[in-house]
Amino acid sequence: MSAAPFLTVRELSAVFPDKNGGLRALDEVSFEVYPREFVCVLGPSGSGKSTILRILAGLLAPTAGEVIFSAGPQPKIGMVFQEANLMPWRSVIKNLTLPLELAGLETEAAREKAGDMMDLVGLDGFEEYWPRDLSGGMAQRVAIARALIHDPDLLLLDEPFGSLDALTRERMWTELSHIWQAKQKTVLMVTHSISEALFLADRVLVLTQRPGKVKLDLEVELPRPRKEEIRYTPQFGRLARKLKKAIG
């Protein structure tokens, strides 16, 4: 990547106050993310992966260090959490248009855009459903569509498929990779699955056990578009082994 970084994270530390002098979640984490890059943050649980996303989303102030966005101080953010986090009192379509509504966009244009997004995530015809009537995979697809509908500068994915069953999860990888290729967004995704990271990412950052530090920054030089079979190639296996060794 030759362009200027879209996002620079410099010596980011996060300490949560507790009884014995504070819990260090992150310890001087530094990395860069380039425009339209798909970066995965991989690490054991409790390595502060999610803390990074929370800081980037503005939900949490870092104890030290800085975050620099080239797009300006407050980039538009789309976030997907481990749970779909749909509002149960809104229909699917109203959940989808929430970010536009918050931005004050008129509803007619919002509806049109929502229609396109429903198409993209394959949920045509479910507009007026209540979230309670959706399966886990469908709900998560609504959540992904919602994170994209306001055309964010940065997409933050916090173990978005963690609560799905294995089969649905793998189908979602393919779908997400299609969506990413169609939308060309800069993505930062947190996961603890090596296969997931390799299947989706351009680059994988491995964090150490708490306090998290970047241990490995690995380019994933697998051809795109990636199909499911790629997971059975020797190249994939080599990269997976490297990541596994780094996680320890």
Binding site: G58, M79, F81, N85, P99, L102, W130, R132, L156
Partner: protein, 261 residues
């Protein structure tokens, strides 16, 4: 899904029929007790006597007058009590400091039996409408307050984070997250408050009043016009049921998204 809906529909209509039949049986038993029980009418009037007294109270306008006064006290008391409880409940839910400052008063206000201080309120604020409205508001206040606090506190953190990540303003968070999320629990509190408000108004009228259904009960008792007492009691029941029904209707209207099964 279809069969499940159908089944629940048929069972609820079945239950409604059972309820009506049980009500009819109750009235019949009352009639039989009055007819064959050998009790004088000032102890137990028959349903027919009560009905005739009802028609008389209706035609001479006294029922409208007294029911109107009581309804007015209830509505204003409910409005004032529920509104102040909602605002205060929201603030308490948001601020632990405010909760600590107010909690002794809130707990005490709940521990004081309202019936016991009602005479005091009538002494202070006179036998007019104001003291009744106040008693009504006080009795409504607590359940609405508690449910508002619980409802607002139960707003999922995850949804709060979602709103923050979308840079929602505090106003948007209030309108599009906190109010709809707290609404089910809040309406539950309002439903309790609505029925309590009827009790509040009657307590106030018992202590001292020259109008209202509570006053009418006192008059009926004093004149051995027991049928009139029955008329007033049934009118109070009807008022309470209508208020309860309005809140239940609001719940049906605003909470369609909830899984009712």
């Amino acid at each position: 899904m279809e069969p499940k809906h159908l089944r629940s529909l048929t069972t609820t209509t079945g239950r409604n029929w059972l309820g009506l039949a049980s009500l009819a049986a109750g009235i019949l038993a009352w009639w039989a007790a009055a007819r064959f029980g050998g009790l004088p009418a000032f102890i137990l009037p028959s349903p027919i006597q009560v009905w005739m007294r009802f028609v008389r109270a209706l035609t001479d306008g006294s029922l409208f007058l007294h029911a109107g006064v009581t309804l007015f006290e209830i509505l204003i008391g409910l409005l004032v009590g529920a509104l102040s409880a909602t605002v205060l409940g929201y603030l308490v839910a948001k601020s632990r400091t405010l909760e600590r400052v107010l909690s002794p008063y809130l707990v005490a206000s709940q521990a004081v039996p309202l019936v016991a201080i009602a005479p005091l309120l009538v002494i202070w604020f006179g036998p007019g409408m104001f003291s009744k409205v106040l008693i009504c508001a006080l009795i409504v206040f607590f359940p609405v307050l508690v449910n508002t606090v619980v409802g607002v506190r139960a707003v999922p953190t995850a949804l709060h984070n979602l709103m923050l990540s979308l840079r929602a303003t505090p106003r948007q968070i209030l309108l599009k997250l906190e109010i709809p999320a707290a609404l089910p629990v809040f309406l539950g509190g309002l439903r309790i408050g609505a029925t309590l408000s009827v009790i509040g108004a009657v307590i106030g009228e018992f202590v001292g009043a020259d109008k209202g259904l509570g006053f009418l009960i006192n008059v009926g008792r004093g004149q051995f016009d027991t049928a009139l007492v029955f008329v007033a009691v049934f009118t109070l029941i009807a008022l309470a049921l209508v208020l309860y029904g309005i809140v239940a209707l609001a719940e049906r209207r605003f909470l369609v998204w909830q899984d009712t099964n």
